[in-house]
Homo-oligomer: 332 residues x 2
């Protein structure tokens, strides 16, 4: 994609993860849906944090994870998302910048603190997420740097950002700016329950503005309210130019018009599945913006996902590009 | 130890660790002593953090780690240490409280932020620490709750706390309060370079106030300025009632008057040595306050250290007591 300053511009909820180990009883007592993501308010966040075991903090956020991984793979990446001007906001800004991602969004000076996701890991390795959106709610049209979007080959939008009310308008603005400059728009559906909450708006956005759709089986069947993966593939193929639809260890299906590629999942010793989808999208978008074919996009995406699944946390250890057999720099 | 409300009252630098992976070049370019701990000021902390790769945050501090592990092993534990009234202070307070430790110290309302230790992990698994003491410097005599000390079987002091100027007076106050109530005082030397910086004050404190001394080979030979471990053992035996002197994978030597016990290191698959000494002290103090003999104190100490060494980070995963064969509750 010639003339672009960035390969990828991501827009998402800028979140710090707080990870703690609990037993199943801790979840059931609080009516939490294991493996899901629930939104919580400030009071609930304080209460849950008080009750939680000791934690570990690290930068998170789905599209932010994707951006960090893509930068590790040699892509030129920018990220837009709202933190507060507080210590956790400083941690988020440090980490994404240190990963090599351009992060120009002004922090929120007053009001809510930086968003955090309280993640409870049960002995079976599953993660149950409780997100307090905090300052991320304040992301709006003013934060969309349309010049930056116009200078980015792909603008990648996070489905979770449909929860904060102002963000849907920001998405539309970003998508228009991208298309006006002849660029592409990608979207991750993020979570089947997020799709449930915003199905109508998602369907319209996908149909009208999205070129590249990322979704797992649960998300894409929820989006189209169909019962089978095949029906969902057919619906997605009709709506978008390119869709990468994932099925965990069963691999992924990539469709583009009449072309369809099945990508196997790369072998992985599963330690922690957090960030697998984010890393998949990173590998895919890096390969796509280098102009590689669909099979190679799928292979690199699967390899990046397998690497992240083999370790604790959503952001891989240094040396990812070499591990998955990708040269660090794209030919320019 | 009858009549005590707490088995252990720890006093130390309340620190949040920020861990990142770097190469050796990152250290040599900055003249860092690999494996050591250096004190840095606020400006240096900002500069180093800016240059560091993405990190992971978790509660640390040597004696705070010991207190958290001791509480996991069923001991009744209190901790005194100074954080600021900021987000990282909130993280520290949450984690130590959630570990089951009573943490009554008032946070610093204004001034320096919560202390942090920027930890650089090189590919060989070694950790190089850079500590910005921040609010921990403000810990002083006013923070020593002498009633709490008098109600604790053992007061455990962190050698690192000799760096903040006000803390030495606080140590003396705590030691006097403990002894006036017929309790014991334990000290960890923390670091050979910390011993170098404060040798005179350490020697006087050990001789005059310390009942139980924890040190590794480098620390105890530095303290007494002797060339051999055996000479150091002889000197420590003369100065304190009980000394537990560690030599990493060569195990430890415990001396009490004419009694001497050699404890083997427990077998461990070494992942990360951070917190090994802290966990050793925790196991030892828990066994000691239960009235177990020296051999058993050494065995439990070594088992706790091996458990922590086998995982990333200084605070072990839930279930430690069961893994090392210790019943969760002491007979009372």
């Amino acid at each position: 994609m010639s003339g672009a300053q960035f390969d990828i511009a991501g827009i998402g909820n800028a979140i710090v993860d707080v990870v703690a180990r609990t037993d199943d009883h801790f979840l059931t007592r609080r009516d939490m849906r294991k493996g899901g993501m629930a939104l919580i308010d400030a009071i609930e966040a304080i209460e849950l944090y008080s009750a939680m075991p000791p934690g570990q903090e690290s930068s998170g956020g789905s599209v932010a994870n994707t951006c960090a991984v893509a930068a590790m793979l040699g892509a030129r990446v920018a990220y837009l998302g709202k933190v507060a001007a507080d210590q956790l906001g400083g941690v988020f800004g440090h980490d994404i910048t240190a990963a090599g991602v351009h992060f120009p969004t002004e922090p929120l000076a007053e009001g809510a603190p930086t968003a955090r996701c309280l993640i409870l890991v049960t002995p079976d390795g599953q993660r149950t997420m409780n997100t307090f959106l905090g300052a991320a709610v304040a992301f709006g049209e003013d934060d969309v740097d349309t010049d930056l979007i116009a200078a980015s080959a792909v603008t990648y939008l996070e489905g979770y950002l449909f929860d904060p009310p102002a963000a849907q308008a920001a998405f539309r603005l970003a998508a228009r700016a991208a298309h006006a400059a002849g660029r592409q728009v990608a979207l991750s559906l993020s979570d089947p329950f997020c799709v449930d909450r915003h199905r109508h708006a998602f369907r319209a956005l996908v149909r009208e503005e999205v070129d590249i759709l990322f979704a797992n089986e649960a998300e894409v069947t929820s989006l189209y309210e169909v019962n089978s993966f095949d029906e969902a593939i057919a619906a997605a193929r009709h709506d978008v130019k390119l869709a990468a639809l994932t099925r965990s260890e069963a691999g992924s299906v990539i469709v583009a018009g009449n072309e369809m590629v099945q990508a196997k999942a790369a072998p992985a010793h599963v330690v922690d599945t957090t960030g697998a989808g984010d890393a998949y999208a990173a590998g895919f978008l890096v390969a796509h913006t280098r102009g590689l074919d669909l099979a190679e996009c799928g292979r690199i995406a699967s390899a990046a996902a397998a690497d992240v699944v083999g370790q604790l946390g959503a952001r891989p250890a240094p040396g990812l590009a070499a591990r998955i057999g990708l040269s660090g720099q794209a030919p320019r």
